[in-house]
Symmetry: C2
Subunit: 468 residues, 2 copies
């Protein structure tokens, strides 16, 4: 493709995206397609000769786009958001065009040093202590795996990397912890049987006394507690594990404390919503995802550690073909994570933080939390609904209720309610289970979601409940 | 940022990129910056209020760009390339703008089904057998980790995920294997002491008899061989481990065979350069990186497995908040890898393959290999140089030589030679060690590298050698 053709289509796509940003609310949030439908429009074999970009872009519009779920739709209330912004997209255009692979300082000095600075900015923005060092990971899954590996090595005097996994290392997290914790426990060789799911309180936050009891029992049985994963903002209900008593227990027994604030971390940018970070200064590692709520398009996960040497000792490799004369003076972020190859992700953080300013991001967080508060109030004022967990930050967990109906029937009705809401095409929500009950989740966080979109969602939910 | 501002800057960046593609050869390949220099231009604290994009883009041009190594420079002959193309960048503009998180079918049906089709295309393009299923990973490091984990689980009847790592599982790879293999062995809990680095022949390819011997010895000592990693195209010298005898040994002892063709895999698109794939039909897993040589910007790694169930049994998690009614009918690629979150990477594969056609990609591969062949011939005709490994595909390994100089002095001279070449700013090469000797690597693969760029590189190398 010659440069003029690139220029022409590039302009065309920028215009198309600008229109898309403006009108994404007009698409159905999730597409009315059945499994295999898109596949049936895609030829079995690749073309032998090149096709022109007009044809390819026509197929993009006619085949791919109608099959996409629109994460940037203002009616997206499902899962946690992955919100986005024009400055982030501008940075990604440059990142894609430069095509730099940022594994080592020498392979992109500015990318490395910008990453270092951006992680300092983020650390200060959310109030992490200054002794933490940061690195960008792709996802919290990967960051958590790094934490588990560091904890594993520290708990075994750095012998597991050499000799292989010891039996009997244990990991602790609440019953509400994210699935990536168990996945990491499996990958790192601890074994699921050595993951203790600690009981929670009525608000689904970890019970520190139950944690202590589990640790003591394990030690009595000859196990070696290696890591506690505390969650700030669980996926199901945004529960906040209490960091102060948990970190005291970790200090007492010399256990690695990893804090998973994948979603909630962004809220700490607003001083008025930072209360849940109390006690964070004692953690060994901490992760939050700017790609969830901080206007930075996926992927971009911020991982902070107290002691980079532990991370480096756990993950660094130094083959001859990667050595450079600058190695002693610089950070080579390839040694800070699982992957060798790395995209230039710091650029979009720089664009986003500068473009919105800390205040712009904090204002957005506050606005989203305010909307969730309003929505929770509407629910509480309507006797057809009940909250299934306290509203925390931007997440509301609720269900339709009806006296004298058995739980099973309520689950069935609420599942139907969710399907009806999502079939509207105007709103997309997801679900979870809390205390064994099917639970609807309204998660506010899309950049363009306004009070009107929230009211529309409430109207759709309310009407769907009325028709049950 | 309003849409008109996005539109204006988007157009500006597209134009800037088009110019960049045209003139990237005018930049020094690696920047003349010292460690910390970029950092000193970046303020310690984030701005409180938003800044306008003109200011941010000015800083990008004045601070960041002068500190970048230019991976798309036609004089990039270092490491393995990470080449790029305008259609790939166009796709990334859309991927960034849509901001979709493609963890599950429901979260982006078209992304899932396009990924499925693209992996079939790639499988067929490089001549992998039809029984292989594919998934896009970020990097080969991650793909290899998936392979090691699958092998670990299969070798322990899928009990390690539950009970934790058993002692005594062993892994085999050649002495020339990539650092990500040892890293994966450490992460997955095998322990580096259980990684056997098998001897190689004169061309640095694995010696199958040495492999068999290592396996038999381990079994006699009560170890359980779990995985052999064969490399097609080692990083140091593009050596090709012989798949046919290796796969016969793996079958005989029931060992998982993972094939790491991260760079070389793309060459198999050209039937005339597919010879090294002989025997691949017996592998359990296979990885190659379209983001290296296939005009697809980083990151995009293609991982293929014979038996997806083993992968799923090893890595899938099914928490309530991710369940959907479509789960039984669809692929949820989140269960095919380490990370839960996933970018929409299939789109750029689709754009690239359609835009160039299979033939366009094969022609590029053939052109690069032809250039490496020419370059090796120039070296062989000049008595000041010697090849340190047979030229394979697009990589030439060589050094300056001088009779009667001790090896140490030759290493020193060649290191100086490399520094002088790279200081030209016109050419960037990297090095390795082969047989204990310092070795220069000329790796051809940049999309825009022409015969003229190669001649220029040769002239710079030749003059630098003359001045030693």
């Amino acid at each position: 493709m010659d440069n003029d053709t690139f220029r022409r289509h590039g302009h065309q796509l920028v215009d198309w995206l600008a229109d898309y940003f403006e009108h994404v609310g007009d698409y159905p949030v999730t597409p009315p397609v059945t499994p295999g439908e898109i596949l049936s429009h895609l030829p079995d074999t690749p073309p032998r000769d090149g096709e022109d970009m007009d044809t390819i872009l026509r197929d993009y519009r006619e085949i791919i786009l109608p099959g996409m779920s629109h994460w940037q739709h203002p009616g997206w209330f499902a899962y946690f958001p992955a919100n986005n912004s024009p400055p982030s997209v501008l940075a990604e255009i440059l990142t894609a065009g430069l095509g730099a692979q940022c594994m080592s300082w020498i392979t992109s000095p500015a990318a490395t040093e910008l990453e270092e600075r951006m992680m300092e900015w983020l650390r200060d923005m959310i109030g992490l202590p200054a002794h933490m060092s940061g690195v960008i990971q792709d996802t919290a899954s990967t960051a958590t795996l790094c934490a588990l590996l560091s904890a594993r090595e520290r708990a075994t005097d750095f012998t597991t990397n050499d000799r292989g996994m010891h039996a009997g290392l244990t990991v602790y997290a609440s019953t509400q912890t994210h699935s990536s914790i168990e996945k990491g426990v499996r990958i790192a060789g601890f074994g699921k049987h050595h993951l203790r799911l600690v009981a929670v309180d009525d608000a689904y936050a970890m019970n520190p006394e139950a944690l202590r009891k589990a640790i003591v029992e394990d030690m009595e049985r000859g196990k070696k507690p290696a890591c506690v994963v505390a969650t700030l903002g669980t996926t199901s209900s945004m529960a906040m594990d209490p960091l102060e008593p948990i970190s005291a227990i970790c200090r007492e027994y010399g256990i690695w404390l990893h804090v998973d604030a994948a979603f909630a971390g962004t809220a700490a940018i607003h001083p008025g919503h930072r209360w849940f970070m109390k006690g964070v200064e004692a953690c060994d590692s901490f992760v939050f995802n700017p790609h969830k709520w901080m206007l930075t398009n996926f992927d971009c996960s911020a991982y902070f550690v107290r002691d980079p040497d532990t991370l480096l000792q756990t993950l660094s490799m130094d083959p001859e073909y990667l050595k450079t004369s600058a190695d002693k003076q610089v950070k080579n972020y390839r040694d800070w994570g699982i992957q060798l190859g790395r995209r230039f992700r710091a650029l979009k953080l720089w664009f986003v933080i500068r473009s919105y300013g800390v205040r712009g991001i904090a204002d957005m967080v506050d606005r989203h939390i305010g909307m969730a508060r309003d929505f929770a109030a509407w629910l509480e004022a309507d006797e057809r609904f009940e909250l299934l967990a306290p509203r925390q930050l931007s997440l509301v967990c609720f269900r339709y209720k009806q006296d004298q109906l058995p739980e099973e029937e309520l689950d069935r009705l609420n599942r139907r309610l969710l399907d009806t809401i999502n079939a509207s095409g105007k709103v997309f929500m997801s679900h979870t289970q809390l205390g064994g009950r099917f639970c609807l989740r309204l998660s506010v966080g899309q950049a363009t979601t306004s009070e009107e979109h929230l009211q529309q969602a409430w109207q759709i939910i309310s009407e769907a409940a009325g028709a049950l």
